[in-house]
């Protein structure tokens, strides 16, 4: 669960934002690519479809034209077989040429003979003969053969008579507003005797129009001839635009067939053009077809909407997903951020502590070392001086006694210093224990032996009941110090003819050492304070000591994980008990 109240840490928010942005970016990119590809395909399909349409229409046109050309050729062949035509041409009776061909030409002009194949299309606008030099022979009466102005008529001429059919397209300059394009077919007339071209018949037709048969089609077609566009169905403005385009294309070397897209009034249009008379002596003319791209464009728009909608849905889905994913991902990240914050705080504290501890440690170490040096050095000097004096032989005996007392005091002072330094190190926590196996039973036995050997020990009886091989872990020197202190107390505070009882036994996880002695007991008031420093329960000049022994012993016992306590002190019996954890059995027999 997300708690909306709790603001996310900055890192988490930015992580979420980045994730969401990435997802959105990817989806947007995918959508854009999809739209691009689909649009490209639609555009290509539209172009291909229109091209096929154009090609089929042009080929339909070609078929019609072929039919007409064939019919025309047949007419001319028949015409050429006519002796009167020959006579007129060969006998230079050109005035008789047109009257001689009257019937045939009327046929061409009227296209009346519907039984003839393709004759329906033989409905010429004009007919003219060319003479042997390729010049146009003007008819005596142009009414029947289609009137042409002299300029147009002159353009029907050839420099040399062609020996094959020539198709051309001419702009007939009737008037600028109504310029008509004529399809002109020049058919050579061969002499039946010599096979030579003796003349040619030039016939002008209304050009076939693409798409004229299909009603409702939005296709506009026209002809480009003589550098002019003839496409009356197109608006004047659009004609101008298209004319400029085409002029550009055809002036840069004409290609036989191609297409381009032009933005005419009423949206972009796909324009196809194809040369109508590629191998003709007449100037090249082009069939121009203008197809509206509205269908393709609306299809593309629809597609764009579809893909856009899909993209939006995807985007929405992606956004929701990204939200959940981000929350999912963000949780651990958030936790991590929080943890790291906490860790940082903790680490900072720990570091501070470490620094202060290290400071303290350094200080205390320095202090101990300094104190040890400062105290011990003069003492050593003092002791050396006293020992040197004792070595003299010419002093009085009282002086020797005095000197030896002073020497004894220096020894005592040395002990105090040692104890104090040890305590100082204990307090600072600087004291390190070596984890060695110590045989406590043996240790106690040794000390008891030493105790008996002491010169000034009172007459006391020592009872001992010590289990064999009680082993503890610790530093032998310190353990020895504990035992020594307690045993010395038991001896020092004993009475004449008293006794000391030492028992040691191992329990399941600790070793228990009891040391009891007869003698003056410690008052109940003092009992609380006997483990404090510089406290001496029994004040007596006869008993040497400086009030640090018990304190030091207890501190050391505690350092070893054990304790030292007073068990009882009444009725001429004072008893201390030392508890220490038993050593691990694996190292049982280590020395």
């Amino acid at each position: 669960m997300i708690s909306p109240k709790k603001p996310y840490p900055r890192e988490v928010t930015s992580f979420r934002t980045k994730l969401a942005l990435t997802i959105m970016l990817v989806i947007a990119l995918v959508t854009a690519v999809a739209i691009y590809v689909a649009e490209g395909r639609v555009a290509a399909n539209a172009e291909r479809d229109l091209r096929l349409k154009f090609q089929s229409e042009v080929s339909g046109l070609d078929k019609l034209q072929e039919l007409r050309n064939a019919a025309l050729a047949e007419r001319c062949r028949i015409l050429a077989e006519k002796p009167r035509i020959h006579a007129a041409l060969e006998d230079n009776a050109l005035d008789l040429l047109y009257p001689s061909a009257k019937d045939e030409l009327r046929d061409l002009m009227e296209g009346s003979d519907s039984s003839d194949q393709g004759a329906g299309s033989l409905n010429a606008k004009f007919c003219r003969f060319l003479d042997g030099a390729g010049a146009v022979l003007s008819p005596p009466d142009a009414k029947d053969l289609g009137e042409l102005n002299t300029k147009t008529e002159a353009r029907l001429a050839f420099k040399r008579l062609p020996d094959s059919q020539q198709v051309g397209y001419l702009n007939e300059d009737v008037d600028p507003a109504n310029n008509a394009v004529d399809e002109v077919i020049a058919v050579p007339i061969f002499s039946t005797e010599t096979g030579e071209v003796i003349s040619a018949l030039v016939v002008g037709f209304e050009p076939f129009e693409i798409g004229s048969s299909r009603a409702g089609a939005d296709v506009k077609s026209g002809i480009w001839a003589d550098g002019r566009l003839h496409m009356p169905s197109l608006s004047e403005e659009a004609q101008t635009i298209l004319t400029n385009h085409l002029a550009n294309i055809f002036s840069n070397g004409d290609r036989a067939q191609s297409n381009f897209i032009v933005d005419l009034s009423g949206g972009p249009q796909l324009v196809f053009y194809k040369c109508l008379n590629p191998a003709s002596l007449f100037p090249h003319a082009y069939e121009i077809c203008v197809y509206p791209l509205a269908d393709s464009i609306s299809q593309r728009r629809r597609l764009r909407w579809q893909f856009g909608g899909m993209g939006a849905v995807l985007l929405l889905g992606g956004f929701v997903t990204s939200h959940f994913v981000a929350v999912r991902f963000a949780k651990p990240v958030e936790q991590l951020a929080l943890d790291s914050e906490r860790n940082r705080e903790q680490r900072r504290q720990a570091e501070a502590q470490l620094i202060s501890t290290s400071e303290k440690l350094k200080r205390s170490t320095r202090y101990s070392a300094d104190a040890s040096h400062q105290l011990k050095s003069p003492l050593t000097v003092l002791r050396a001086g006293l020992e040197a004096l004792l070595a003299h032989e010419d002093f009085k005996p009282e002086i020797y006694e005095e000197l030896s007392t002073l020497l004894h005091q220096t020894h005592r002072l040395s002990g105090v210093i040692e104890d104090l330094l040890l305590l100082a190190r204990l307090d600072s926590g600087h004291l390190r224990l070596q984890a060695e196996q110590v045989n406590l039973s043996q240790l106690v036995e040794e000390w008891l032996d030493d105790l008996a050997a002491l010169p000034d020990s009172p007459e006391v009886e020592i009872e001992k009941q010590i289990a064999q091989d009680l082993t503890v872990t610790g530093t032998k020197r310190y353990l020895s110090l504990i035992v020594q202190n307690v045993l010395e107390n038991a001896r020092k505070y004993n009475r004449k003819g008293g006794r000391i009882r030492v028992t040691a036994c191992g329990e399941k996880d600790e070793v228990r050492l009891s040391i009891g002695n007869t003698g003056q007991t410690i008052s109940s008031d003092a009992q609380e304070h006997i483990f404090e420093r510089f406290r001496r329960a029994v004040a007596g000049g006869a008993v040497s000591g400086h009030g640090l022994g018990l304190n030091l012993a207890r501190e050391l016992a505690r350092l070893h994980g054990g304790d030292l306590r007073l068990v009882r002190s009444e009725n001429d019996w004072t008893e201390f008990e030392l508890c220490l954890p038993v050593a691990q059995p694996t190292a049982k027999h280590a020395s």
Partner: protein
């Protein structure tokens, strides 16, 4: 005189046809018409000549006549013929007629020049009529030999028509009772 070599096998005398070679009409085998140019008194009546259509050909295929001569065109084939000419020297059109047609269709040729005869139905048929001002003319034989006789003395130009585009000329002086030899190159 020298004539272009013949391309056909030798045929009977006066049996030759008119051919068109590059728009130039000549006879095959080639013959020439040699005539004496000049002004001669017009005869009041000239004999009527004939060019028949026989076996879908004009017979003779080449006929020189004096200006003003009437020529009849009898149809000797068992079919229609339709003789006409678009030549500047004489334009006429006899229309279609059968062999039974009487009187025999005829034309008077009253302007000098070459007239090409054609048949509107049989377009391969060609005939030539050379209308001349002079009564003194002769057709050479295929080897180019000719003989003109009964000529009045005087200075003349002797011409040789070889084909529709070629006519050679040579000055000649004729003396009474003499025979002149002329060679056209």
């Amino acid at each position: 005189m020298k004539l272009p070599p013949s391309h056909a096998a030798p045929v009977m005398a006066k049996r030759y046809e008119v051919i068109n070679r590059g728009g130039v009409l000549s006879t095959e085998p080639p013959v020439a018409v040699i005539y004496l140019d000049g002004t001669f008194p017009k005869l009041s009546s000239l004999p009527t000549k004939q060019i028949a259509q026989k076996n879908f050909a004009f017979v003779p295929a080449l006929l020189p006549v004096q200006v003003g001569t009437r020529i009849e065109f009898p149809n000797l084939d068992d079919t229609y013929h339709s003789i006409f000419s678009y030549s500047p020297a004489k334009r006429f059109d006899l229309g279609r007629y059968r062999p039974e047609e009487r009187p025999i269709p005829s034309q008077i040729f009253d302007a000098p020049g070459l007239v090409t005869l054609r048949c509107d139905i049989h377009e391969h048929m060609r005939g030539l009529i050379l209308v001349l001002n002079t009564p003194h003319f002769v057709v050479s034989d295929p080897s180019g030999r000719f003989r003109l006789s009964g000529l009045p003395p005087g200075r003349y130009v002797l011409k040789a028509w070889i084909d529709s585009k070629t006519t050679r000329t040579q000055d000649i002086e004729l003396k009474n009772g003499e025979t002149a030899h002329v060679d056209f190159p």
